[in-house]
C-alpha cells in the first residue's frame, strides 16, 4: 500500500485522531440486534437479564464482556451447581477452588500448588499451538500464586492413529507440549495417553502443573485498595483467540478449517521471562494481587480480581500496548494473546515495578486503577465504552437448568458383558495387548519431553505409576499423577468416576506417597443433551464419593463442555490429577522388578470383571456391560497398606492393576525393570473359579502387584491382615523369563519387541494399530 505521505507529525496525528473518532462513532452506532446477541452466544433470557441488570441496553463492548463472562467456559453455568457437591476443604487445604490454582500444606512452611486445565478445541484446530498454549496457560496459573512450577503432566486422548487426522493431531500435540515445556524448563514428568474413536475429531488435552512455595508466601488474584494502579505485564496484545472463551463453548461445525484465526500463539521464551519476573514480583512487599489473563483475557481477570476484593476498576484501553493496527476496545477486552498478566500494586510503587520488569523485553504498563463501588468502567480515548457492575458479571450468570436422563437402554448395575467364545489364547492375547496403542510403551511420547530438567525427578515417566520429585533442602518428596478412564465412565459414569479417583490414589500410594488432594478436569459433550448432562452429574457424584472415601478434597479444576463434532461425541472423561507426599524421598519405589529371588505378590482380590476392559475391546471390538465397578472401602484399605509399607521399606516395587488387567500389570513390572527381570507365577487367586481370560484381563480396581524381599513376607502379611487387604503370594522374580501358570511362557525380549518398537537408542516408533506408518 503506498500513500503520498508527508513527514509532518501533525498530519499523522490528525489522521490518527479522525480514525479514532470514526471508530468511536461506529461503536456508538452499533445496533444490538437479536442476531448480534445470538452471535455473542447469549440467549434471549440472558439478554433480558443483562438489560434488567443495567437498566438499559448494553453497548457493544458491554455485550462482548457479558458474552464471555457468561460463557460456559468462564462461568460454568451448566456445572457450578453440581460442582458444589465436591468436597473442597480439609485440614491441609490452604486454598480451594476459586483462585487460579489450589494449594495444599506439605508441612514445615511449604505448600504445593496445582491445577489441571483443558485446551481441547484449539488443539484440534492447530495441534501444536493449541497444546503449547495449554502448557503456557497452566504454568501461569501456578506462578501467579507465587509458586515456582516444578512439573507438568498431560492426559491426552485422540482417535486411533490409523486415522490420518488423528495421527497428525497426536503428533502435533506432543510436539507442542514438548516445544513449550522443554523451552520454559519445567519437566514434563507424567500423564497418560488414550486412543478411542470418540476422540477422533475432539481431542482431549488436559494439562496439569505443580509448583511449590513457602506456605506463608502465597499471593492471590485480588484488586484491593482503591487508588492502587493496575498494570498489564508480559506480551503485547493482539487479536489472538478473540471469542476463544465462547469458542470453547460452541460445538465445532466442521473440520476446523474456518476456525483458525481464533487459536492463540504462544512463545515459551517470553513465558520463561514472564515466569522469572513474576516470581520475583510475588516476593516483593508492594504486590497487592496478580492474575493470569487466560480465557477472555483482560475482561475475565479484571472482573474476577475486582469481585474477589469487592472493589471495581477503571481501565484505559488506549494504554494497553498492542501489536496490531486498528484494534477496537472490545477486541482489546477479549484478546487472548498469550503470556500476559494483570497485576495490582501499592500506589507509589509503580517505578519499582517498572524497574523489576526493565530489560526483560516484557510489557509493564499501567492500564487502570482500582476503584471503590464494585463497577468495571472501561474507557477508550476519553470515552466510556462500558460501565458494568462487577458482581453480576462474576457471579450473576443464570444457572442453566439442564435435563438429565441416562441413555436409552442403560441398565445400571446390570450383568457384566459376556465373555468371548471361544476364548482366545492367553499368550497371544497378551502380546496383542502389549502391542496395541492403548497399552504399548509411551517412550515414543515421553522421550520428547524433557523430564529431567531441574535435576529433581526421582521417578521418571515409565518407571512407576506416578512421578516423584524431590524438594531441595528437604527430606520429603512430592508425587503426582493424572488419570482417566473414559471407557469405564462411559459404561457407568458414577462408578467409573469414583474408580478414576481410586486409580489416581493407588498410583500415588504405589510409589510410597500419601494422597493429599485432587484437581479435576471434566471433559464432556453438549450438556444440552440429557444423556450427556446425566453423564456429567453422575460423574461428579462419583468423583465426590471417591474423594470423600479416600480423603482427597478437590482444590482446583476445570470443566470443558461441547466436545463434539457433528455426530461424533466424546466419551465422558473426568480426568483426575492428584498430588501426594512421601515422608522421605528415599522411601520411594518404582514398578520395575529389582532383584532376582524377590517374592511377587498380589494385594487385593481378583473378580474377573472384563466389562470395559482393553481385552474386551480387542476381542469384541466394542465395550459392553456396566464396567468393572468400584469398591471404595477396598481401595482405601489398599492405599493405606501401600503407604504404610513405604515407611517400613517393605516393598521393592509396586504397580497397581488398571488398564489391561493383572497379566499386563505383571508384564509391565518386568518391562520396567532395568535388567530384563521376569517372573515365574505359580498361583493366581481365583484361578479355577474364574475363567482364565476374565482372571487375567479383568480391570476391577483395588489391586496392586508388588515385589519384596522374601524375608519381609511375614511382616507384609501381618500388616495386610491388620488393614484388611487380601495378600496373595504369586511367585518369584527370575532373570529373563515371563512365565505365568501354564498359560504364558515368553522371554522379556519377545514382549519388549512388540511393546516398545525402536530403531535406535533415541528412535522410538509409533506404528498405527493397523500396522501402517512407523515413526
Amino acid at each position: 500500500m503506498t500513500t503520498t505521505a508527508t513527514n509532518s507529525c501533525e498530519a499523522r496525528s490528525k489522521r490518527f485522531d479522525s480514525a479514532i473518532v470514526n471508530r468511536l462513532r461506529s461503536l456508538a452506532e452499533v445496533e444490538i440486534s437479536p442476531e448480534m446477541v445470538r452471535a455473542h452466544g447469549l440467549d434471549e433470557g440472558e439478554f433480558r437479564d443483562i438489560v434488567a441488570i443495567l437498566g438499559r441496553q448494553p453497548t457493544l463492548v458491554e455485550l462482548s464482556i457479558f458474552s464471555v463472562m457468561w460463557s460456559e467456559h468462564c462461568c460454568y453455568k451448566s456445572s457450578r451447581a453440581l460442582l458444589r457437591n465436591l468436597p473442597t476443604t480439609g485440614p491441609r487445604i490452604l486454598q480451594g477452588p476459586g483462585e487460579n490454582a489450589g494449594a495444599v500444606d506439605l508441612g514445615d512452611n511449604l505448600a504445593v500448588v496445582f491445577k489441571v486445565e483443558s485446551h481441547n478445541h484449539p488443539s484440534f484446530v492447530m495441534p501444536y499451538h493449541g497444546a503449547a498454549t495449554g502448557v503456557g496457560g497452566i504454568l501461569r496459573d501456578i506462578f501467579t500464586l507465587g509458586a515456582r512450577p516444578i512439573a507438568v503432566l498431560d492426559a491426552l486422548r485422540f482417535g486411533p492413529t490409523a486415522d490420518e487426522i488423528s495421527r497428525t493431531t497426536f503428533l502435533g500435540v506432543v510436539d507442542g507440549i514438548a516445544g513449550y515445556g522443554n523451552c520454559i524448563g519445567v519437566p514434563t514428568v507424567g500423564g497418560e495417553l488414550h486412543f478411542d474413536p470418540s476422540f477422533a475429531r475432539n481431542p482431549i488435552i488436559n494439562v496439569m502443573a505443580v509448583g511449590v512455595i513457602e506456605a506463608d508466601a502465597l499471593v492471590f488474584g485480588r484488586a484491593d485498595g482503591p487508588g492502587n494502579p493496575v498494570f498489564i505485564l508480559g506480551a503485547t496484545t493482539g487479536r489472538d483467540g478473540i471469542h476463544g472463551a465462547t469458542f470453547a463453548s460452541d460445538v465445532m461445525a466442521g473440520d476446523g478449517g474456518e476456525s483458525r484465526p481464533q487459536v492463540q500463539i504462544g512463545d515459551p521464551f517470553v513465558g520463561k521471562e514472564m515466569m522469572e519476573a513474576v516470581l520475583e514480583l510475588t516476593r516483593t512487599d508492594y504486590l497487592v494481587g496478580i492474575q493470569d489473563m487466560g480465557a477472555a483475557g483482560l475482561t475475565c481477570s479484571s472482573v474476577e480480581m475486582s469481585a474477589r476484593s469487592g472493589t471495581g476498576m477503571v481501565l484505559e484501553l488506549e494504554r494497553v500496548p498492542v501489536r496490531e493496527e486498528g484494534m477496537m476496545p472490545h477486541e482489546i477486552m477479549l484478546s487472548e494473546s498469550q503470556e500476559r498478566m494483570l497485576a495490582v500494586v501499592e500506589a507509589g510503587s509503580e517505578d519499582r515495578l517498572r524497574e523489576l520488569f526493565a530489560g526483560r523485553g516484557l510489557v509493564c504498563e499501567q492500564v487502570g486503577e482500582v476503584r471503590d463501588g464494585g463497577r468495571l468502567e472501561v474507557r477508550w480515548h476519553g470515552r466510556t465504552v462500558a460501565d458494568l457492575p462487577v458482581g453480576p458479571l462474576a457471579d450473576g450468570a443464570p444457572i442453566v437448568a439442564r435435563a438429565s436422563a441416562p441413555p436409552a437402554g442403560w441398565r445400571g448395575d446390570a450383568e457384566p458383558g459376556p465373555l468371548p467364545e471361544p476364548m482366545p489364547g492367553v499368550e497371544e492375547t497378551l502380546l496383542r495387548l502389549l502391542a496395541s496403542e492403548s497399552l504399548r510403551s509411551r517412550a515414543y511420547v515421553f522421550s520428547q519431553y524433557d523430564h529431567t530438567v531441574r535435576g529433581s525427578t526421582v521417578l521418571r515417566p515409565g518407571a512407576a505409576d506416578a512421578a516423584v520429585l524431590r524438594l531441595a533442602g528437604r527430606e520429603d518428596a512430592i508425587a503426582a499423577t493424572l488419570d482417566g478412564n473414559s471407557r469405564h465412565v462411559a459404561l457407568h459414569p458414577r462408578a467409573g468416576a469414583a474408580g478414576t479417583v481410586a486409580e489416581a490414589a493407588r498410583n500415588l500410594a504405589c510409589v510410597g506417597a500419601r494422597p493429599l488432594a485432587v484437581t479435576d478436569g471434566l471433559n464432556f459433550a453438549d450438556p444440552g443433551r440429557p444423556e450427556v448432562f446425566w453423564q456429567f452429574a453422575e460423574s461428579v457424584t462419583g468423583l465426590a464419593e471417591g474423594c470423600r472415601a479416600l480423603g482427597t478434597p478437590v482444590v482446583s479444576g476445570n470443566v470443558s463442555f461441547y466436545n463434539e463434532t457433528g455426530e461424533l461425541r466424546v466419551d465422558p472423561t473426568p480426568t483426575v490429577g492428584m498430588v501426594g507426599q512421601l515422608e522421605r524421598a528415599d522411601e520411594v519405589r518404582g514398578m520395575g522388578l529389582r532383584t532376582a529371588g524377590d517374592a511377587v505378590a498380589l494385594l487385593g482380590t481378583n473378580r474377573g470383571r472384563v466389562s470395559g476392559s482393553e481385552y474386551q475391546l480387542l476381542v469384541d471390538g466394542r465395550p459392553s456391560g456396566s464396567g468393572p465397578g468400584v469398591d471404595l472401602e477396598a481401595e482405601r484399605a489398599l492405599i493405606e497398606l501401600l503407604v504404610r509399607t513405604a515407611g517400613e521399606r517393605l516393598l521393592r516395587s509396586a504397580h497397581d492393576v488398571s488398564q489391561g488387567g493383572l497379566l499386563v500389570a505383571l508384564a509391565e513390572c518386568c518391562l520396567a525393570s532395568g535388567d530384563d527381570l521376569g517372573v515365574e507365577v505359580d498361583e493366581v487367586p481365583g484361578h479355577g473359579e474364574l475363567r482364565a481370560d476374565a482372571l487375567l484381563f479383568g480391570e476391577e480396581g483395588a489391586r496392586a502387584v508388588v515385589s519384596h524381599d522374601p524375608q519381609v513376607g511375614g511382616r507384609l502379611r501381618e500388616l495386610a491382615t491388620e488393614l484388611g487387604v487380601p495378600f496373595h503370594p504369586l511367585g518369584r522374580v527370575v532373570p529373563g523369563r515371563f512365565r505365568v501358570l501354564d498359560l504364558v511362557d515368553l522371554s522379556i525380549q519377545e514382549m519388549r519387541d512388540v511393546w516398545c518398537p525402536r530403531a535406535g537408542v533415541a528412535d522410538f516408533l509409533w506404528p498405527a494399530d493397523d500396522g501402517r506408518a512407523g515413526g
Binding site: M1, T2, T3, A5
Partner: protein, 90 residues
Amino acid sequence: MSYRAHIQVTCRPGVLDPEGKAVKEALERLGFAGVGRTRVGKLIEIDLDAADETAAGQTVERMCTELLAHPVVERYSYHLEPRDAEAGEP
C-alpha cells in the same frame, strides 16, 4: 536511503538436512510425483538505512557473516529492495 534486505539462509550442500528429507517424504505421501532435492532454510527480512545499495549490501554481508549464518554449516544469499521509509506496512 531505505532498503529491505531479503536474506536466505540454508544449510550447506554436504550437511545433513533431515528436515528437508522429511518434507520431501511428506510431499511424496501426499501424492506429489517427481519431487527432487528438498532443502529447508530460513528467510530473514531486515529494513535498514544506508547511503546507497552498495553500502547496504556491505552491511548485510557483515550481518550474515557475523550473526545470521553459521559459518560451518550454513550459507546465505540475499537481495535488496529500496523501500519508501514512510510506507505504513508493519
